[in-house]
């Protein structure tokens, strides 16, 4: 708890910014859902034939998991807030659509008959009679949508749309519970607040004669209700105006020259921010940052479609996941770099700059006691204790050809048993003695914390995962100074340096951007003055 307060006091500006963007995106989504949902609802309310397919479609969309929808949308719409808003609109549509239909359909037909019969036009019947009577039901739909939107918008951070989800996701990745809570708690409060405000609005727009019984309708009560209604509507209008102003300001704000992204994952974000800091410090370019863009494909698609211009990627990942090559044990760092550089340029028009120096590949790690007990230094040494040790690894590693099956084949290894863990739980497992060997990443900050011994991959089984900036060739053509500025990082960061930066984030709870900036300053790559400009 004190960690959370600490985090909030340090990062209140950042959290506030994310909160505002969360509100902005949620309001925008709900507003769009209203603008689409209510007119469509009105159109189909008295057309039973049209109602079935439209509501059916909305129902189907509702049933699809939100992450899956994002998966469908990203290849077509790319990353960023537009896609996020589109997704949330899809989900917000159904309650509004359904309630608009239901609200209109449940009006006593005699009332509508009377309205027509006394000579009201279709428009007048709609606006003076149907909508006021259906409004409470429609508002209930909007209320459901709003609360859903606030919740769903947290997922938007996966595709770089911003919002409070950014904190939750970054927090999960860096095992920083204060950060998770700093995102989750405001998101909860925001949802509850939204529910409260919308409930008030729902009340305010319900004609009092429909809300109160005849005996409750005293003149004093009516007056009280009218006053309350005025206050509610004025407050909500003011809030909406503020939101619109905010959105307009955002829209007309200066456009950045360059957008730097990163995948999720601690060092990606550190390096991404480091590059952004460098470029901002050394050039006049205005840089926008879109960090933590989920997995490889999201970030790479964003680069490919020009939504971001530059992000740090691993050679091994490009080789297998992007270029679709089979993992090839024994391939050297240079061979991989050549293949990646050529493939990206030819197939995607993406340029590769130089390696930063660290290799974040799979390693097998054992505790210091185990290492001493069995005299383990390399992976080959494990053959001597075949069938005696228990392995902890990710479910993915256990089945991948370039994972456990491959390593067993190449080294001729056999483990006593294999246990699946995800993320940092593996470290807990090896510390508590549940397993003896774990797979880890060579730059993992936790390796230092738990004092683990890394076994050398003496047969080059694991492909090299050197990180390097990959950049859109058009961007590089337009701003050739980028390559020059970033060259100061060439082969500058080794595994241990990266481990300790990761450690500071994961274990000490420091901010990723801050850790990167500190590194630049400590090594004299930038000065305080340059950063401050």
């Amino acid at each position: 708890m004190s960690g959370l307060l600490n985090y909030l006091s340090q990062q209140h500006e950042y959290v506030g910014e994310l909160l505002l963007s969360h509100i902005r995106l949620s309001i925008l989504s709900v507003a769009m859902a209203i603008v689409i949902g209510i007119p469509v609802g009105i159109l189909i309310a008295d057309k039973v034939k049209a109602q079935k397919p439209v509501l059916g479609l909305a129902n189907v969309v509702q049933a699809i998991p939100s992450l899956a929808i994002l998966g469908f949308l990203v290849p077509y719409m790319g990353i960023g807030s537009n896609t996020a808003v589109f997704m949330v609109v899809l989900y917000s549509l159904l309650p509004i659509l359904k309630n608009t239909c239901a609200g209109l359909a449940n009006i006593n037909s005699d009332v509508i008959e009377a309205a027509k019969g006394i000579g009201m036009t279709r428009r007048q019947v709609l606006f003076k009679v149907k909508l006021p009577l259906a409004l409470p039901v429609i508002m209930a739909g909007i209320r459901i949508s709003s609360v859903t939107a606030v919740g769903l918008m947290t997922i938007a951070a996966y595709i770089g749309a911003g919002g409070l989800g950014t904190l939750v996701i970054s927090g999960i990745q860096t095992d920083n519970s204060s950060m998770i809570l700093a995102g989750a708690i405001p998101a909860c409060i925001l949802a509850l607040l939204m529910d409260f405000v919308m409930a008030r609005v729902e009340r305010a727009v319900t004609p009092i004669s429909l809300r109160l019984s005849a005996s409750q309708l005293t003149p004093e009560r009516e007056q009280h209700e009218r006053r309350e209604r005025k206050v509610t509507l004025a407050t909500v209008s003011a809030l909406l105006c503020a939101a619109v102003v905010m959105m307009a300001a955002q829209y007309f704000a200066e456009k950045p020259d360059l957008c730097i992204g990163s995948k999720e994952g601690c060092e990606s974000v550190i390096i991404g921010n480091m590059m952004a800091d460098l470029i901002e410090a050394k050039t006049d370019l205005k840089v926008e940052r879109k960090m933590s863009l989920g997995g490889t494909m999201i970030a790479f698609d964003a680069l490919d479609q020009g939504e971001i211009d530059l992000y740090p990627e691993y050679t091994g990942t490009v080789y297998t996941a992007v270029l679709g090559q089979e993992a090839n044990p024994g391939m050297t760092k240079e061979e991989t770099y050549e293949a990646v550089s050529k493939g990206l340029k030819e197939e995607y028009g993406i340029d590769t700059l130089n390696n930063f120096g660290f290799n974040n590949t799979y390693v097998l790690a054992v505790s210091r006691e185990t290492a001493e007990k069995y005299n383990l230094k390399t992976v080959s040494d494990l053959i001597n204790v075949n069938g005696q040790l228990r392995l902890g690894c990710s479910p993915e590693f256990a089945v991948r050809e370039d994972g456990l099956p491959g390593i067993e084949k190449v080294y001729g290894l056999k483990f006593k048993s294999v246990h699946n863990f995800s993320g940092t739980l593996m470290y807990t497992a090896i510390t508590s003695g549940e397993v003896d060997v774990i797979t880890a990443f060579s730059t993992d900050g936790l390796l230092q914390k738990y004092d683990l011994v890394l076994l050398e991959d003496d047969r080059n089984f694991f492909p090299p995962y050197f990180m390097l900036p990959i950049v859109n060739e058009k961007t590089l053509e337009k701003y050739p100074e980028i390559a020059e500025v970033l060259s100061c990082l060439d082969d500058f960061i080794d595994d241990e340096t990266m481990q300790s930066m990761n450690y500071r984030v994961v274990e000490l709870g420091e901010d990723r951007a801050e850790v990167g900036r500190q590194f630049l300053l400590d090594n004299g790559l930038v000065t305080e003055e340059e950063l401050a400009k």
Binding site: A114, A115, G117, G119, M120, P132, L133, I208, L210
Partner: protein, 382 residues
């Protein structure tokens, strides 16, 4: 004047109205009546084009309504339906003023009109204008409905079963109010109901419909007395007329050829005539047929000279009735003056007939006996 000319309405294969022809005259209350599905509501809704005819035309004051703007047409007539027709989210005032406001009339004009309308339907504006429909009783709601229909001062008012959801006492009060309103305002009112009592009570003319046809369109009295169709008499009910005895006239029950004599006829001849015709009095009429007196056997028996003309002993008729005098009034006269017979004369005093105690009893008993006897018959069979 609203004219239906060869109007038909069909939904797919279902004929709702079949070639309807009738005319509604200005200033009359016309009641459309019949069992469910007879087409009465369809007919009503055609007048304001809520439903449009498949064939035929409807003219208002000679103009085909299909050539008019439906919105203007509807605003030129009032429309009242059951109490739910009021807008629940609006106050009484907003309900009444909705159309005038939509037409952007000046607010002072609207306000005065609203006050007037509230007085017209006998509700206190101070007390009711700011209330919502849920705060009103059924009868009050219906009065507001009527007020709203009158808000644009239309010549025609359409009423679709407006009173059917009300309790009998309230309904009866509203029917009286409607008749008195109509007498003052002289609107043309088309009124749909399924209640024959209501129809007879308020209608100037009743239009009886059955399965899309008009069976009879006539004044209530005519319909009660001379049903044009087996279904009509069945629908109206055999003894219906006894719910409205004012429709039974002297004309209907009198002896049309009473025994008469002339003033200069000798008394003994008159006695002879009484004996032959088995009566104990004669109407004395002049050669023009005018009633000049009544002579009874008792008068002649007391007379000394039976050769002298009858005019010497006849008495002037004190109480006479007209052919249109209702049976109710006749009974009142019999009771009040303790008389056994009432001569029926027209405007020129010409004798048309005679209502006797016997003819009254016969007429009244007819209605009861037929039913009683039916009952007895059934008992015997059982």
């Amino acid at each position: 004047m609203i004219e239906f000319r060869n109007v038909s309405k069909a939904y797919k294969n279902n004929d709702v109205l079949r070639n309807i022809n009738f005319t509604i005259y200005d200033g009359e209350i016309v009641v459309l009546i019949g069992p469910s599905g007879c087409g009465k509501t369809t007919t009503l809704k055609m007048i304001n084009r809520l439903i449009e005819p498949t064939e035929g035309e409807i003219l208002i004051n000679g103009e085909n309504i299909m050539e008019k703007d439906p919105i203007a047409l509807r605003r030129s007539m009032g429309y009242v339906i059951q109490q739910t027709g009021l807008f629940p989210h609006m106050t009484v005032r907003q309900n009444i003023e909705i159309i005038p406001r939509l037409e952007k009339r000046s607010s002072s004009e609207i306000w005065q009109n609203t006050q007037k309308l509230m007085k017209m339907v006998d509700l206190d504006p101070e007390k009711f204008l700011d209330r919502y429909p849920i705060q009103l009783s059924g009868g009050q709601l219906q009065r507001i409905g009527v007020a709203r229909a009158f808000a644009t001062n239309p010549d025609i008012i359409l009423m679709d079963e407006p009173f059917s959801a009300l309790d009998p006492i309230t309904r009866s009060g509203l029917q009286d109010a409607l008749v008195s309103l109509q007498t003052r305002m002289k609107k043309t009112i088309v009124f749909v109901t399924h209640d024959m009592d209501e129809a007879v009570k308020i209608a100037d003319r009743i239009c009886i419909m059955y399965q899309g046809d008009i069976l009879q369109y006539d004044k209530p009295e005519e319909i009660l007395k001379n049903p044009a169709h087996g279904f009509v008499s069945e629908f109206v009910g055999k003894n219906r007329i006894w719910s409205n005895p004012e429709f039974i006239r002297a004309d209907d029950i009198m002896i049309t050829a009473p025994a008469t004599t002339e003033p200069d006829i000798p008394m003994f001849k008159c006695m002879e005539k009484m004996r032959l015709q088995k009566v104990n009095s004669l109407m004395v009429v002049d050669p023009m047929g005018r009633l000049v007196g009544i002579v009874r056997a008792a008068h002649i028996l007391k007379a000394a000279d039976r050769e002298s003309p009858v005019e010497q002993v006849m008495v002037k008729p004190k109480h006479t009735a007209r052919p249109e005098t209702s049976v109710v009034e006749l009974l009142q006269m019999v009771r009040k003056y303790d008389i056994a017979s009432i001569p029926v004369v027209d405007r020129e005093d010409i004798l048309r007939g005679l209502v006797t105690n016997t003819s009254l009893v016969t007429a009244l008993s007819n209605q009861f006996l037929s039913e009683e006897m039916m009952g007895q018959l059934e008992e015997v069979e059982a």
